[in-house]
Symmetry: C2
């Protein structure tokens, strides 16, 4: 179209994607992307072709917007790429599947440094590789802000997908991964105190680059998980989705989350915030939460944090047992909440 | 993240996505999306699951940015949805495949009218249905400008994918669909003259909503197409991709494109522009261009527009034969070209 996107006016030390040109950028980006054995046609054609061995494909998409989901002064391009891949691959894992391929849409101003585009690519590539997937294609276009759109495909390896709707009374509620660290990191970045950021560097990093336990998804599926999702909106809100979809109530045992509280407790004290807010309500953690029949084997890295009970009134209620009465300010994340 | 996206400041007659809330919008949007028989898990979980009958899946992604690819004062939300689906499904068709499923990422300001989001959904749904696909999932997030990211999946139905690299000397160059109409429509919209827009309403509409011949993709594959792509950057530039990837040269016969020139000739004269610029260089047309062995049956709606010749010097050269010497101003579309 004819209308012009505006540049963001940054000074450049090196070439930008605008001065390099769309096709030259795509060539440089594509050259950084190794293709796994399941990729039958990689980047460079109208579309890619990926193996789907059991004749089904898992598909999920997530969009990251500059100054909404990341800030270029907080996160490197590499970290944004890691995070964009991670949140999509976590969704694939939460179905009990293994990620196979990603496609990426990048909208960016002309003056985006070429290094930023290649850094993003490297981050997408490395996190995809951690999940077992290849970046097989993409699209690049102009836009005022950087917007990274990722779609991930996955392979269920013959298993049934694990939905949100299968939890049954008597099941255990389990989690793979830490809770609250991303929210703690966000709070540290928002405060912007360099000394605090240094003291709690691991928490800050957890916000910039979540590190989901991808293997836990298929492992939980093999163990018989009756429901599963990834913790993207906050534990209580996400468990609420499971409870509502399954027509059950859930009881979370606060004592089981003490290690999470301890992990963020120092930062919470330093910032004058409540660690429980982060542990129970923090989004973008991308831990996996699931329900397992009692007696099912607990996969490596998976811990019990609660239990499924019969619905009190239609289901959907999540209760925290054993929690001292603290105020839970933010129970989750609505992109349009004020 | 904590930073706030800004609203665009439009007055609203009805509810916006911000006042409605993310989850309520998603419920309303999802309720408008019927799911075809190949959808094993539809919207509402961490990911969808789609059938891939021949154990392969075609995947492609495209991003549409407000004021770069569409303008809300030119196009209705429904038209933007149609176009977003069309350009992705055309990429799937250009592999010789049938589109099966779409996922959609929408980034939008809080004050986007709810009607706009549902109109977009209806457009995506209807164009997907025209291609044989279902919209199976998506993501919605805040952003200053509307950005629509679509990923389409496709089924090769047991056939080999048709790449850009298989054209051989002696093959015919063929096209399914009109050329130049989208570029003519863009020029009419840029001029903004209401009387001209009314006189050439079909051309204006062709810019807002391309109507690819999806069936021609699989039909050309069955007919033995040796190379194929969709005309998104302009016929000469896109055929240049085929020529370069195949190591051949192509000769386009201008006489074969006279019907396209006639279709846009009146609008070109009225605007004082060159119709050939649009026919040979106009992007976003989403016609399919392919190469076919001589003697191959021509599928319905497919016409011969040229021939493949041996490479003069490495290949990649596209020549137009029989064209009176007119100036071809814009040979294609680079999102970062000045």
């Amino acid at each position: 179209m004819g209308a012009e996107g505006q540049d963001s006016g940054l000074d450049l030390a090196g070439p930008s994607i605008g001065t390099t040109g769309e096709f030259a950028v795509l060539r440089q980006v594509t050259a950084r992307l190794p293709q796994g054995p399941g990729v039958l046609v990689g980047p460079g054609d109208d579309a890619a072709v990926v193996a789907a061995p059991d004749a089904r494909v898992v598909v999920t998409t997530d969009v990251l917007v500059e100054d909404v989901h990341f800030r270029r002064d907080w996160s490197s391009a590499y970290e944004v790429g890691r995070k964009a891949a991670a949140q999509n691959c976590a969704d694939v894992a939460a179905m009990g599947a293994r990620a196979t391929a990603l496609v990426v849409g990048l909208s960016a101003p002309r003056d985006l440094p070429l290094d930023w585009a290649t850094g993003l690519t490297d981050g997408l590539r490395d996190e995809s590789a951690r999940a077992g997937a290849s970046v097989v294609g993409g699209d690049m276009t102009r836009g005022e802000r950087v917007v990274v759109s990722v779609t991930a495909l996955g392979d269920l390896e013959g298993r049934a997908p694990v939905l949100r709707s299968g939890a049954r009374p008597g099941d255990l509620v389990v989690v793979a991964g830490a809770l609250g660290t991303s929210a703690a990191g966000l709070a540290l970045h928002l405060r912007g105190d360099a000394a605090l950021l240094e003291s709690w560097a691991a928490l800050a990093a957890a916000h910039r680059v979540p590190v989901p336990d991808y293997a836990a998804g298929p492992a939980l599926a093999r163990a018989g998980a009756t429901a599963m999702l990834d913790v993207s909106d906050g534990l209580l809100q996400d468990l609420g989705h499971v409870a509502a979809a399954s027509g059950v109530d859930l009881v979370v045992d606060a004592a089981a989350l003490e290690p999470d509280l301890e992990r963020v407790g120092g930062a919470a004290a330093a910032l004058g915030e409540q660690g429980w807010d982060w542990v129970l309500g923090g989004g973008e953690e991308h831990a996996l939460a699931a329900t397992l029949p009692p007696g099912a084997p607990l996969p490596h890295g998976v811990r019990v944090v609660g239990r499924v009970v019969a619905a009190s009134a239609g289901g959907g209620v999540v209760t925290v047992a054993g929690l001292a009465p603290v105020r839970v300010v933010r129970r989750g994340w609505d992109h349009y909440a004020r």
